[in-house]
């Protein structure tokens, strides 16, 4: 099997879970000796040698090609909203624009020049970059024929996948790691939704990272159910992490670690904390991360008069993330909508029992965790209390959780993916 994959980021230069998932998948494919051509808008040169990497910024576009003009025409509606950055709240957007001002690569205004220097980030030229990336997809599909199937990761790469399919006539699989509904709730960004929808409908097969996401794809994007299958994520390393880092406070620690945004449900964690602290003063809650709801959470914690037991760390990086997991007695992920959610698996690696919301994809693969509805703060409080006080249950979760983790391997995921490819190719011919 030879796969032409379009991604947006690849380790070590990543800003989110998408890059990590792509890495795992490519690694899994490698395990099965499958050939992957992996295209990203910008290569940094220090990527692990797992695939035939193609740097989008190196591709020169033959703009006389008539078919390209047609592809381009179909994409121009994207330009309207080129100032929208779907992944970011206003605060982060400010940071990003500040960043791009300082870090600006000289970009030729015209999309139809020979070459185009991608930033490969989620900056304010995102829509322009997505459009240009589609032309890169078309050009590669024109230049090469050493692939059997096309695979595009998330909406940023969907237009590239569609274009490659149009030029080559080869089947397209699109992979949904997150939808606009997960990122923005009900206030979706219309152009992004349109791209997602176009990608899913143009595809011969759609992969969703969880049954939860599969449902969204069917219900909100109108994709026929038989065309959509679930491909759960896995973990790169399932080994238990023994940290030497020691807890400095006598109390037990309950942790929320993630972006403090609507999607992650931080307010339910705060409300549950209040209920637990009322019953048990020997516990500290920690909210680690940053986001547009941070100040509102601080305000609420003060209002509830639990600030001496509820702490905020701000954004954590590097070793601090590991330290945080290491000193946690319970990890809670109360996400309102989480296509997958890899963080609880990290907690399991640190031998920390986890509580996850039923509205997260990871709940489908992790059996040894307490699962609650994100809005059910009473159940959340009960679960926290139980894990803190009933040695038996937390011990069981620790042991079984780490056993379970060992089964979540990317090579298994890749094996499943290969059968999806085979079926899709068979259907087309």
């Amino acid at each position: 099997m030879r796969v032409l994959m379009f991604g947006w980021e690849f380790p070590p230069h990543i800003s989110g879970g998408l890059g990590t998932a792509c890495y795992g998948l490519v690694k899994g494919m490698n395990h099965h000796n499958q050939k992957v051509i992996f295209v990203v808008p910008k290569l940094w040169g220090d990527e692990e040698n797992l695939a035939d990497f193609v740097n989008g910024s190196d591709i020169s576009i033959n703009y006389r090609e008539k078919k390209f003009k047609k592809i381009w025409k179909n994409l121009t509606y994207l330009e309207v909203s080129s100032f929208l950055v779907p992944y970011l709240g206003p605060e982060e957007f400010q940071k990003f624009t500040d960043y791009t001002i300082h870090d600006k690569v000289d970009v030729d205004e015209s999309i139809f020049t020979n070459k185009y220097e991608f930033s490969g980030k989620y900056g304010k030229n995102l829509m322009e970059e997505v459009s240009r990336y589609a032309l890169v997809g078309a050009q590669i599909a024109r230049d090469r024929s050493d692939f059997d199937i096309i695979h595009a990761h998330d909406w940023l790469a969907f237009p590239a996948g569609i274009a490659a399919k149009e030029i080559s006539g080869k089947p397209l699989v699109v992979h949904v790691h997150a939808t606009e509904f997960d990122r923005s709730g009900e206030s979706v960004n219309k152009p992004v939704y349109e791209i997602e929808r176009a990608g899913m409908h143009a595809a011969d097969h759609v992969l969703a990272v969880s049954a939860l996401t599969r449902n969204i794809v069917i219900k909100k994007y109108g994709v026929p159910a038989h065309k959509v299958s679930v491909l759960h994520n896995a973990v790169l390393d399932a080994s238990i992490i023994k940290s030497a880092y020691q807890k400095k406070v006598p109390e037990k620690i309950v942790t929320f670690l993630g972006r403090i945004t609507f999607q992650k449900g931080p307010e339910y964690f705060v409300e549950a904390a209040k209920k637990v602290i009322d019953r048990d003063p020997n516990v500290r809650f920690v909210m680690a991360g940053s986001g547009d709801l941070l100040n509102r959470m601080i305000q609420r914690v003060a209002e509830l008069r639990i600030a001496n037991k509820f702490h905020f760390t701000g954004f954590l990086k590097g070793d601090d993330v590991d330290h945080m997991y290491a000193i946690s007695d319970v990890y809670v992920m109360p996400s309102v909508s989480e296509p997958f959610g890899i963080a609880p698996l990290e907690a399991v690696r640190h031998n920390t029992p986890v509580i996850i919301s039923k509205q997260s994809g990871v709940a489908e693969v992790l059996r040894n965790a307490i699962k609650i509805d994100f809005w059910d703060v009473d159940a959340m409080a009960d679960a926290i209390f139980a894990l803190l006080h009933y040695e038996g249950i937390s011990k069981m979760f620790k042991e079984l959780g780490s056993e379970e983790l060992k089964k979540l391997k990317w090579e298994h995921v890749a094996a499943k993916l290969i059968t999806v490819y085979e079926k899709t190719i068979a259907q087309q011919s």
């Binding site: 807890k247 400095k248 406070v249 006598p250 500290r284 920690v286 941070l294 100040n295 601080i298 305000q299 914690v301 003060a302 209002e303 008069r305 600030a307 001496n308 702490h311 905020f312 760390t313 701000g314 601090d320 330290h323």
Partner: protein, 400 residues
């Protein structure tokens, strides 16, 4: 007798260093020595040293007829000792002239008067002892509470501690039609005299001096004396109360604030019948004209002249209540470091940084805060307080 009474507040808090969640239980030193030293050194150059020299000149020039009062917080005294012995020495010399009065306050510029009589009393006593120690046995007779916070109850507490008088704000809503330019007495203890700040004339110097959009800009000594002379003859005392940092810090030297002060006494002596007095002289010489009723506390801050700069929003109330929950435990612990931190954590500035009143337009509160937002201030303070609480618990358990 008509007189002008100058009182300057000299205070700097011990600011907290950035203190993270991971530090709780491990790092027990909370203070940002580098920042605190820098603030003191900068203010010493811009304000304390030149202004002390100027006042010394005026006292000599007018052979004691020009006089002022200071309230110097204990946190400032401690920082002077550590970072600015030159400033301390110049204050000591001023006091030694006999024409400079020192007022008593709470040692750590705390809000304890609103929460705990016992703690308030302890901090007043501690400040008194420290002044005695540093200023050759000097014993203050007049009291000024943190941020001029005053109520009938606070006045009574202060009287019970043996003071003859107290300073506070001449807030419009307590005065009504009355003038601040008289001596009043406490509503519960008529023997305690109350001096009220003339906020219009005080703020003309402290806040408006360099404001070019102010109709009376520029403020000259002639203009100021005209205003003093316009005060009805029967009104006896004009209390000009302000932060000492007005001179050189809030109003920079290039605004002419130092020249204004250098020439103000001359203008007053020459063109008016006003003299200069210190608070205790005013109290001794002038009778009280009636009681002033202040059932709920007032202060000298903001337009509202109430407590909302320090207390009232959820962040402030939570931090304040959590702090004083520790009081009963700390009382029994004889550990100098814990006692020091307990005092410094009470300083009102910590709560001021958590004020959200002007969050949107980021005005005067923002200017004085080392934090980006009130939320940052709150989190940092609560992290420190959590560690402090653990130390106190540990210490009181090990005693048992």
């Amino acid at each position: 007798m008509r007189t002008v009474c100058f009182y300057f507040q000299v205070h700097q808090p011990f600011r907290l260093k950035p203190y993270r969640f991971f530090d709780i239980g491990e790092d027990h030193y909370y203070w940002d020595d580098y920042l605190n030293k820098n603030v003191i050194r900068k203010a010493a150059q811009r304000c304390y040293l030149p202004m002390n020299a100027l006042l010394m000149d005026l006292i000599h020039q007018y052979k004691g007829k020009f006089k002022v009062a200071f309230s110097i917080s204990g946190t400032f005294l401690d920082q002077m000792e550590a970072y600015a012995p030159d400033v301390l020495e110049s204050f000591q010399k001023l006091v030694a002239t006999g024409h400079v009065e020192l007022l008593n306050e709470t040692y750590t510029h705390s809000l304890a008067a609103l929460k705990s009589k016992e703690e308030f009393t302890a901090l007043v006593k501690k400040h008194q002892d420290r002044i005695k120690e540093l200023f050759n046995g000097y014993t203050p007779k007049v009291f000024r509470n943190t941020e001029l916070i005053y109520s009938d109850e606070i006045g009574k507490m202060v009287y019970d501690l043996g003071y003859e008088g107290i300073l506070t704000e001449g807030a419009k809503h307590i005065l009504g039609w009355k003038s601040p330019n008289y001596i009043y007495t406490n509503a519960l203890e008529p023997k305690l005299k109350v001096l009220l700040k003339n906020f219009r004339l005080s703020d003309d110097i402290a806040f408006r001096f360099s404001n070019k959009t102010w109709a009376d800009y520029p403020l000259t000594t002639e203009k100021f004396v005209t205003w003093l002379n316009a005060i009805p003859k029967e009104e006896q005392v004009v209390n000009l109360f302000m932060d000492y940092e007005t001179f050189g810090e809030h109003q920079w030297a290039d605004t002419g604030i130092f020249e204004f002060m250098r020439h103000l006494p001359e203008a007053i002596f020459r063109h008016s019948d006003f003299s200069f007095s210190t608070p205790s002289e005013v109290i001794r010489q002038l009778p009280g004209v009636g009681k002033i009723y202040v059932p709920t506390p007032i202060s000298w801050a903001d337009e509202e002249r109430d407590l909302t700069a320090w207390l009232g929003n959820d962040l402030q109330d939570e931090a304040f209540d959590r702090l004083y929950e520790i009081e009963s435990k700390i009382k029994t612990i004889d550990d100098p470091e814990l006692q020091r931190d307990w005092g410094y954590l009470q300083t009102s500035d910590h709560f001021y940084y958590m004020c959200t009143k002007f969050f949107s337009d980021g005005s005067v509160h923002q200017y004085f805060s080392p934090y980006d937002t009130p939320y940052d201030a709150f989190i940092n303070y609560m992290n420190v307080l959590s560690d402090f609480d653990l130390r106190v618990k540990e210490s009181s358990q090990s005693k048992k």
